[in-house]
């Protein structure tokens, strides 16, 4: 009995531990899914936006001595602008080209951002300044870490904010209309280019917030730090059903929890492999994802 009870608690703790990282994946997955929803592009540079977000926040904190919240907001603004510029320069000219051309361009942009960061900051590993309390509380036998709690709550707040924008504002309505039919939206008076641009801005800002939190969580930073989380968030988006916001959120949490469980009960070595195995399984069994209807979409 006692043994069982303990074991149950441990699983519960592990799941709780998966929530913060899961919520971060959810934020990144939302960006993937929003961009896919509106222009049917898998923006593989999204992980690098996340990386730029982390770096810029670190710079704002260490060089300008800004408080964390302000640094995070400024890094969100920075990547929002970066996202809009990338869309305008790299993707917009290809909007009428094949999807493969745009996809390859996205991969190119991803390498470009990594290498530009390498050029600016060098190959050294930076550490994210420890500006957040690292206290751990024990509540009813559950260990709750302040940073993890902060990550989780911040992510939830941002997701609620996004839900509000998408469902309660004129911009959100325009975004959803453009995602359904660009010509019809234009006939209503929607500036399609502007709406697409704003979608990139929103998605990129969420990625930056995620980047900052992962920077604080894993501490060490390199120009390649966006690759694995970006890919995992992509898996999360596909898992939940790409193009669907609730799918991305669910997928993010699911991937975070699964990864933490594998690391806790199997081996940390396997955690990435399991995530990619999920991608393969989803694509084989239900390519439209858990929440998706129909399977007509091709990437």
């Amino acid at each position: 009995m006692l043994f069982k009870g303990v074991r149950h608690d441990t699983i519960f703790t592990t799941i709780i531990n998966g929530l913060p990282i899961g919520s971060v994946y959810a934020l990144v997955a939302l960006g993937y899914t929003m961009v896919y929803g509106i222009i049917k592009l898998i923006n593989f540079a999204h992980g690098e936006i996340f990386m730029v977000g982390a770096y810029s926040a670190m710079i704002f904190i260490t060089m300008f001595n800004l408080p964390l919240w302000l640094a995070m907001m400024l890094s969100m603004l920075t990547t929002a602008i970066l996202g809009m510029v990338i869309e305008k320069v790299a993707y917009k000219p290809l909007r009428k080209s094949s999807r493969t051309a745009a996809l390859i361009t996205a991969i190119g942009v991803s390498f470009l951002l990594q290498n530009v960061m390498l050029l600016i900051m060098g190959a050294r590993i930076y550490t994210f300044p420890q500006v957040f309390s690292n206290t751990t509380w024990v509540v009813n036998g559950l260990r709750v870490n302040a940073l993890q709690l902060g990550m989780f709550l911040t992510s939830i707040a941002l997701m609620l904010g996004l839900q509000f924008v998408v469902h309660q504002t004129k911009l959100g309505r325009a975004m959803r209309a453009v995602a359904v039919d660009k010509d019809a939206a234009a006939l209503m008076g929607v500036d399609v280019n502007h709406t697409i641009s704003m979608t990139f801005a929103l998605g990129s800002a969420l990625a930056a917030a995620a980047g900052v939190m992962v920077g604080m969580y894993y501490i060490s930073m390199t120009p390649y730090m966006g690759f694995a989380p970006g890919l995992k968030a992509f898996v999360a988006a596909v898992f939940g059903g790409i193009g669907l916001l609730p799918g991305a959120m669910f997928g993010g949490f699911a991937i975070g929890i699964i990864e933490t469980l594998v690391a806790g009960y199997g081996s940390t070595l396997f955690k990435d492999a399991v995530v990619y195995a999920i991608l393969i399984l989803v694509l084989l069994i239900k390519p439209s994802g858990l929440f998706g209807k129909g399977g007509k979409e091709k990437v």
């Binding site: 325009a174 010509d183 209503m188 008076g189």
Partner: protein, 235 residues
């Protein structure tokens, strides 16, 4: 009000519109009939600048609209209900209606217009929070036209509003078109249902493989033997 002059449109090597000219005066219902592929939608899409024409001019309210982006036309009162209704799925009925008023800033006016739509179509009020794609074809057409009215159009372009609807609903739609017209909106109507469309038309044009081949009053075209034979299934 609208003057299309010698308009040419190409899709790659296909010459879709070959020097089309037509005129819509304020207060008229002008009907454009023609079979599938004649270029009817191409013409409406060009007027709304969703397509770029290779030559010719489009003058609306005494100004050329060729360089006005599609999204700015509703503000000038030029509004189109596209072929196939193009309801925004995933958006509720109410959100679809609000999309029609996208460029308007007068909140009170939008509210009154919403109420007008709901009064005219109680079914849309009943389903206002429902995903618009769950409506039936007829309801979707009513929503699409109501959505366009939310922009307070001066000139309404209707692309085959009766397409795919049961005869009873077709009658409803034509009744609605007449009502909209009586309330002061000028209408350019594109239809395959030639009989009904010509009956309500002040003026009509027949488009065949990208060219206007016949024009006249609605009554004249209804009486024309060619029109009878080709578009009305007459003898």
């Amino acid at each position: 009000m609208l003057k299309v002059n010698d308009l040419n449109v190409h899709y790659g090597v296909i010459h879709a519109l070959k020097g089309v000219s037509l005129e819509v005066n304020e207060g008229e219902i002008v009907t454009l009939i023609g079979s599938n592929g004649a270029g009817k939608s191409t013409l409406l899409r060009s007027i709304s600048n969703l397509l770029t024409s290779s030559s010719g001019s489009i003058i609306y309210l005494d100004r050329s609209t060729k360089d006005v982006p599609s999204q700015s036309l509703p503000a000038l009162g030029l509004v189109q209900v596209p072929e196939g209704r193009k309801i925004f799925s995933g958006l509720s009925v109410k959100e679809n209606l609000l999309m029609g008023a996208y460029l308007r800033k007068d909140k009170e006016g939008i509210k009154t217009d919403l109420e007008k739509v709901y009064a005219r179509f109680p079914i849309l009020k009943k389903r206002m929070h429902q995903d618009a794609s769950t409506l039936s074809g007829g309801e979707q057409q009513m929503l699409a036209m109501s959505r366009a009215l939310m922009a307070r159009p001066k000139l309404l372009l209707l692309d085959e509003p009766s397409m795919g609807l049961a005869p009873l609903l077709v009658k409803e739609i034509f009744k609605l078109i007449k009502e909209i017209h009586e309330q002061g909106t000028t209408i350019l109507l594109v239809e395959q249902n030639a009989n009904q469309a010509l009956k309500i038309a002040d003026k009509a044009y027949v488009l065949e493989t990208g060219k206007i081949v016949l024009s006249g009053s609605g009554a004249e075209l209804l009486a024309s033997e060619d029109v009878q034979r080709i578009y009305l299934g007459g003898h």
